[in-house]
C-alpha cells in the first residue's frame, strides 16, 4: 500500500513538472520588468490602456536581417504611429550571438532606421521563457487590457529570403491590425520561425 502511494506521489510530481503553466492567447500576458537600452525600467503594467507588441530580436540572425530589410521598420512605424508600444526584446545571454550593450543597441536602431518604442534586455532569459519565445523574430500582441492576443511567426513563409516577404501572408501584421480594431485575431497562434533564441 505504501509502495503504491509512493509510486503515485513520485509520478504525479513528475507529471506536474512536465505540464507547467502554458502560455495561452485570451489569457492575461505574463508580467515582466525589463530595462531598456537607455537604462529606463519598464513594467508591462505601465502600458495598461495601450496595445503592446513584443518582438524578439537578434540583429545577427539571418531571419531578423531578412525582415529588417524594411518590413520590420515599416511595421514599427505603422504601429507606433497608432499609439502602440513596441518593445524589441533581446534575450541573448552575455557572450551569445545578438547580445549587445545599450549603446550598441541604440546604434543598431539608428543605423537600421528602426523605430521601436524601446529596445529592452532580458539577459537572464526570464521574460523569454515566460513567453515561451523560441525564435528570432518571434512576435506577440498584447491588448489594452493586458490580454495576450497573438503569438507566433511574423508571416507564413519560413525562409531567410527577402523575396518571400511579399509572397507571405503577414500573420503578425494582420493580427496587430485586428487588435487595433478591437477584434480577435485569426489566426491567433502561428508557427514562429527563425534562429533559436540564444538563451
Amino acid at each position: 500500500m505504501k509502495l503504491r502511494n509512493l509510486v503515485l506521489a513520485a509520478s504525479a510530481a513528475l507529471l506536474s513538472l512536465g505540464l507547467s503553466a502554458a502560455l495561452q492567447v485570451g489569457a492575461p500576458a505574463p508580467d515582466f520588468t525589463v530595462v531598456d537600452s537607455k537604462g529606463n525600467s519598464h513594467n508591462l503594467k505601465d502600458f495598461a490602456g495601450k496595445n503592446v507588441v513584443l518582438e524578439w530580436t537578434n540583429h545577427d540572425c539571418p531571419f531578423v536581417v531578412k525582415h529588417y530589410s524594411g518590413n520590420m521598420q515599416a511595421l514599427q512605424a505603422e504601429m507606433t504611429a497608432q499609439d502602440v508600444v513596441w518593445l524589441s526584446v533581446i534575450s541573448s545571454a552575455p557572450g551569445k550571438q545578438g547580445h549587445v550593450s545599450g549603446a550598441k543597441a541604440d546604434e543598431l536602431t539608428a543605423s537600421r532606421n528602426a523605430v521601436p518604442t524601446a529596445v529592452v534586455f532580458d539577459e537572464s532569459g526570464v521574460v523569454g521563457k515566460a513567453y515561451d519565445a523560441k525564435t528570432t523574430p518571434h512576435m506577440y500582441v498584447i491588448d489594452k487590457a493586458g490580454v495576450l492576443q497573438y503569438m507566433g511567426g511574423i508571416d507564413s513563409i519560413p525562409s531567410a529570403k527577402v523575396d518571400d516577404i511579399t509572397k507571405a501572408t503577414p500573420y503578425f501584421a494582420n493580427a496587430a491590425k485586428a487588435v487595433l480594431a478591437g477584434n480577435t485575431p485569426d489566426p491567433a497562434v502561428t508557427k514562429p520561425y527563425g534562429c533559436s533564441v540564444k538563451y
Binding site: 500500500m1 503504491r4 503515485l8 504525479a12 502554458a22 539571418p62 489566426p187
Partner: protein, 692 residues
C-alpha cells in the same frame, strides 16, 4: 616480372575507369559556409522506365547541423526544388533518422556530421531523349549555435542508353544512406491531442525497447518536454505535452521510433471521436528512476513480512534462527534469502511468459484462478494446523524450542524461503497488485529486477539476523512461551484461509465452496493422521489413508460445479444497487449520449478495492453526488480472468485493480487516485461540472 606488371595493370585499370565514371554520377562538391555539398546519382547511365536514387550529400563542419522535416523549436528543414525534363519526376526527400539537438530550453531535430538526403527519380518508360538534365536548387539552414541560411544549384547530366550502369564508387554512399533511413513498420497506430498532450497508442509486431520518438509534424509536440514512453507487452503508449503554438493536428502523421535495434517509421491516424482515447495516466509512468522503483519494491517486500498470512510462519522461523549457532545463522539466512528471491523470480517469469504467450493476465492472476485459490486455502489451513501442533512439517519451519536439534540445514532454509513466498502471494495481489503490475509492464529485465528487490526486501530481516550478530541478540531467549505463541499464531492463518474461502465462494458459488470445505476437512483429517504417524501412534495404514484424503482434497475443487453465470448477470441487479455492470459497449453508448460516467474496476480479492468502495463509493454522500450530477456508475469485476477488463486496464496503463475513471462530457477522462477518500468523488465531480 611481366606477371607483376600484368597484376598491377589489372588492379589499376578498373580503378582509373571508375574514377572517370564517378565524375559523371556527381555534380561535384560545392562549398558553402560551414558545409560542403554534392548531388550524386546512384546510376551513371540510366534506361527509360528506371527508378533510381539521387542523393544530396552534405558534409557540415564539426558540430554544425542541418534540419529534419520537423526542425523542432527553431531552424528550417532543407528544401529541394528540382528542374527536370518532361517525362522525369522526383519524389519527396526520404529523411534519415534525425538526432535530437538540445539547446535548452529549446529542442531541435536535425543532422550533424555527414548527411545524405535521398530522393527517388522516376524516368517514364517512353522517355526518348538521350540524356537527362537534372537541375536542383537546394535551400538549407546550417547552424551551430548561430545559423547561416544558404542555397546552391547543382546540375547533373545522366546519359540514357539501353543499359543501366551503376555508379560503382558511390554504392557505399547509397548503402549508408539506406542504412540511416528509419525502417517502415507496418503497424496500427492512433494518436490523440486531447488533454493538453499528444498521445499515441501503437501495437508493435513484437515488443521493442523504445528510447525516444520524433513526431514529423511541426508545432504539434513541445519538443523539449519529457517524453513518456510505456510498453505493455507489445502495446506502446507515448505521450508528450502539446506545443504552445499547436493549432490543429493533421489526420495522419509520421512518427520515428528509436529502438535498441535501430529506428522505425510508423504512420499514425488521428483517433476518431468516440473511439477509445489514449491516455498515459499519472499513476504509471515509465520515467520514475529505476533505483527509486527498486527501493520501493524492497520496502514493499519488507512490509510483506507483517501480512497476516506470512507473519506467523516467519516469526517462528526468526526465533528458531536466534536459538541456533552463529555459524548456522549465516548459512540459514543466506539460503532462506536465496529461496525467497528465486521464488519471486520464478513467479515473475511465469507471469512474463504467460503475457508474452498472449494471455491477458495481470498481477493478481494467481487469485483469478479458483483452483489456485483452493490450493492456497489448503496450504494456509495446513500451516495453521501445524502451528496448532496437530502435525509437524519438516521444512525446518517449526524448529522452535523443543526440537532445536532437528535443524534441517541449508535445504530446509531454502524451502522455508520458497514457502514464505507462496504463502505471501495471496497477500501481494490485494495490497501491491498495482505496483507489481506496473513492474511487469516494464521490460522483462526491469520486471525481474523489481521482483529481485522485492525478494531481498522480504528476506532483509533474516539477512540482518543472520549476518549481524547484534540483531540476533535482541531476540528474546527461547523457552516454553514460544510454544504458546506458536499456537496463538495459528489463528491469523485460519483467518487468512477464511478470507480466501470467501474469495473462492464469490468466484465459484456456494456449491463449490461447500465442496472446498469438504476438501478442507479432508486436509484436516490427513494432517491429523500424519501427526499421529510422526508421534509413532499410527501405522502405515493411516499414512495411506492420509494420502488418499489429500488426493481427495485436491480433487474436490476440480470436481466442483461450474459457477452459475447468473450470479453476476445484470438480470439479478436488484433495485437498490446503484451501479451497473461494466462493458465496453455500455461505456461507449453512455459517452456517446454525453452522460457523465464513473468506471470502477475491482476484484473481490483486492482489499484496497473493497475498502475504497466501503469508505468512498457506497457512502450516502457519494451516492447523492452521483445522483446530483446524473452520473452512471459502471463496475467491472476482475475477480476472475476477464480479457476485456484487462484490455481496458492496459488502456490506462494499469495492470491491476483498482482503477477509477471519471468521464465528464467534453473533458479528457480523469483517473481518480487508487486510494479514495470519502470526498474524492464529490469534489472531483464538483470541479469537473464547473469547468467551461
Amino acid at each position: 616480372m611481366p606477371k607483376l606488371i600484368l597484376l598491377l595493370l589489372c588492379c589499376l585499370l578498373p580503378a582509373s575507369v571508375l574514377v572517370g565514371q564517378a565524375q559523371a554520377a556527381s555534380s561535384g562538391w560545392q562549398s558553402a559556409s560551414h558545409l560542403q555539398a554534392e548531388l550524386v546519382s546512384e546510376y551513371q547511365q540510366v534506361v527509360p522506365g528506371q527508378r533510381l536514387q539521387l542523393a544530396l550529400h552534405f558534409v557540415p563542419d564539426p558540430h554544425w547541423h542541418t534540419y529534419w522535416q520537423n526542425p523542432g523549436d527553431s531552424g528550417l528543414p532543407t528544401t529541394l526544388s528540382w528542374q527536370l525534363p518532361q517525362g522525369v519526376s522526383v519524389g519527396d526527400i526520404r529523411w534519415p533518422t534525425p538526432q535530437a539537438i538540445a539547446l535548452p530550453p529549446l529542442m531541435n531535430y536535425g543532422f550533424e556530421g555527414q548527411t545524405i538526403l535521398l530522393s527517388e527519380l522516376s524516368i517514364a518508360p517512353d522517355y526518348s531523349a538521350d540524356s537527362i538534365d537534372i537541375q536542383l536548387q537546394a535551400d538549407w539552414l546550417v547552424c551551430e549555435e548561430i545559423c547561416i541560411p544558404a542555397e546552391a544549384q547543382f546540375s547533373l547530366i545522366l546519359p540514357v542508353a539501353s543499359q543501366a550502369i551503376a555508379a560503382a564508387d558511390y554504392q557505399p554512399l547509397f548503402a549508408e544512406a539506406v542504412a540511416r533511413l528509419p525502417q517502415p513498420l507496418s503497424v496500427q497506430g492512433q494518436f490523440d491531442v486531447s488533454g493538453g498532450a499528444f498521445s499515441a497508442a501503437i501495437t508493435l509486431p513484437e515488443a521493442k525497447s523504445i528510447s525516444g520518438f520524433f513526431v514529423a509534424a511541426s508545432e504539434l509536440v513541445d519538443h523539449a518536454a519529457v517524453q513518456q514512453i510505456s510498453l505493455n507487452g507489445n502495446q506502446l503508449l507515448l505521450q508528450q505535452a502539446l506545443n504552445t503554438y499547436f493549432s490543429s493536428a493533421p489526420t495522419q502523421l509520421e512518427l520515428v521510433l528509436l529502438a535498441d535495434d535501430g529506428a522505425y517509421s510508423v504512420q499514425l491516424q488521428q483517433a476518431v471521436q468516440a473511439s477509445t482515447e489514449i491516455l498515459v495516466t499519472q499513476g504509471q509512468q515509465s520515467d520514475t528512476a529505476l533505483w527509486l522503483v527498486l527501493l520501493m519494491a524492497a520496502a514493499g517486500g519488507l512490509i510483506l513480512n507483517l501480512m497476516p498470512c506470512v507473519f506467523p510462519v516467519l516469526s517462528l522461523k526468526a526465533l528458531s534462527i536466534a536459538a541456533n549457532s552463529q555459524q548456522q545463522h549465516k548459512r540459514d539466512a543466506v539460503f532462506y534469502s536465496l529461496g525467497v528471491v528465486l521464488s519471486f523470480v520464478t513467479l515473475a517469469l511465469v507471469l512474463i511468459t504467460l503475457r508474452s504467450a498472449g494471455a491477458a493476465v495481470g498481477w493478481g492472476f494467481q487469485l483469478q484462478n479458483p483452483y489456485l485459490v483452493a490450493l492456497l486455502v489448503y496450504l494456509l489451513f495446513a500451516l495453521g494446523l501445524s502451528l496448532s501442533g496437530v502435525v509437524q512439517f519438516g521444512l525446518g519451519l517449526m524448529n522452535s524450542g523443543s526440537n532445536l536439534a532437528a535443524a534441517k540445514g541449508s535445504k530446509g532454509s531454502f524451502f522455508t524461503g520458497v514457502l514464505a513466498v507462496v504463502v505471501a502471494s495471496p497477500c501481494t495481489a490485494p495490497f501491491m497488485g498495482t505496483a507489481l503490475g506496473y513492474a511487469v509492464g516494464q521490460s522483462a529485465a526491469v520486471a525481474l529486477l523489481v521482483f529481485v528487490a522485492l525478494g531481498l526486501g522480504m528476506a532483509l530481516p533474516f539477512l540482518l539476523l543472520g549476518l549481524v550478530p547484534g540483531f540476533a541478540r535482541l531476540l528474546p531467549r527461547p523457552g516454553a512461551w514460544m510454544d504458546t505463541l506458536k499456537q496463538w499464531l495459528a489463528y491469523p492463518l485460519y483467518l487468512s484461509a477464511v478470507w480466501l474461502l470467501w474469495v473462492y465462494g464469490r468466484q465459484s458459488g456456494v456449491d463449490a465452496q461447500a465442496m472446498l470445505l469438504i476438501g478442507v476437512v479432508c486436509i484436516g483429517a490427513a494432517c491429523w493422521l500424519w501427526g499421529r504417524k510422526q508421534l509413532a501412534q499410527a501405522g502405515i495404514v493411516s499414512m495411506v489413508i492420509a494420502l488418499l484424503l489429500l488426493v481427495l482434497a485436491l480433487a474436490m475443487p476440480a470436481l466442483a460445479p461450474a459457477p452459475q453465470p447468473a450470479v453476476k448477470s445484470p438480470t439479478q441487479t436488484n433495485t437498490n444497487q446503484h451501479w451497473q455492470p461494466w462493458s465496453a459497449d455500455t461505456l461507449q453508448q453512455l459517452r456517446a449520449q454525453g452522460k457523465p460516467v464513473l468506471v470502477n474496476m475491482t476484484a473481490d480479492w483486492c482489499i484496497t478495492c473493497l475498502v475504497n468502495e466501503r469508505v468512498a463509493l457506497n457512502t450516502q454522500s457519494s451516492k447523492a453526488a452521483m445522483a446530483l450530477y446524473d452520473v452512471t456508475y459502471l463496475k467491472g469485476d476482475w475477480t476472475l480472468r476477464d480479457g476485456a477488463i484487462t484490455e481496458y486496464l492496459r488502456l490506462y496503463q494499469r495492470d491491476g485493480v483498482p482503477l477509477y475513471v471519471l468521464y465528464w462530457p467534453g473533458q479528457p477522462p480523469e483517473v481518480l487516485p487508487q486510494i479514495l477518500t470519502p470526498d474524492t468523488l464529490s469534489s472531483t465531480l464538483e470541479r469537473l461540472s464547473q469547468q467551461p
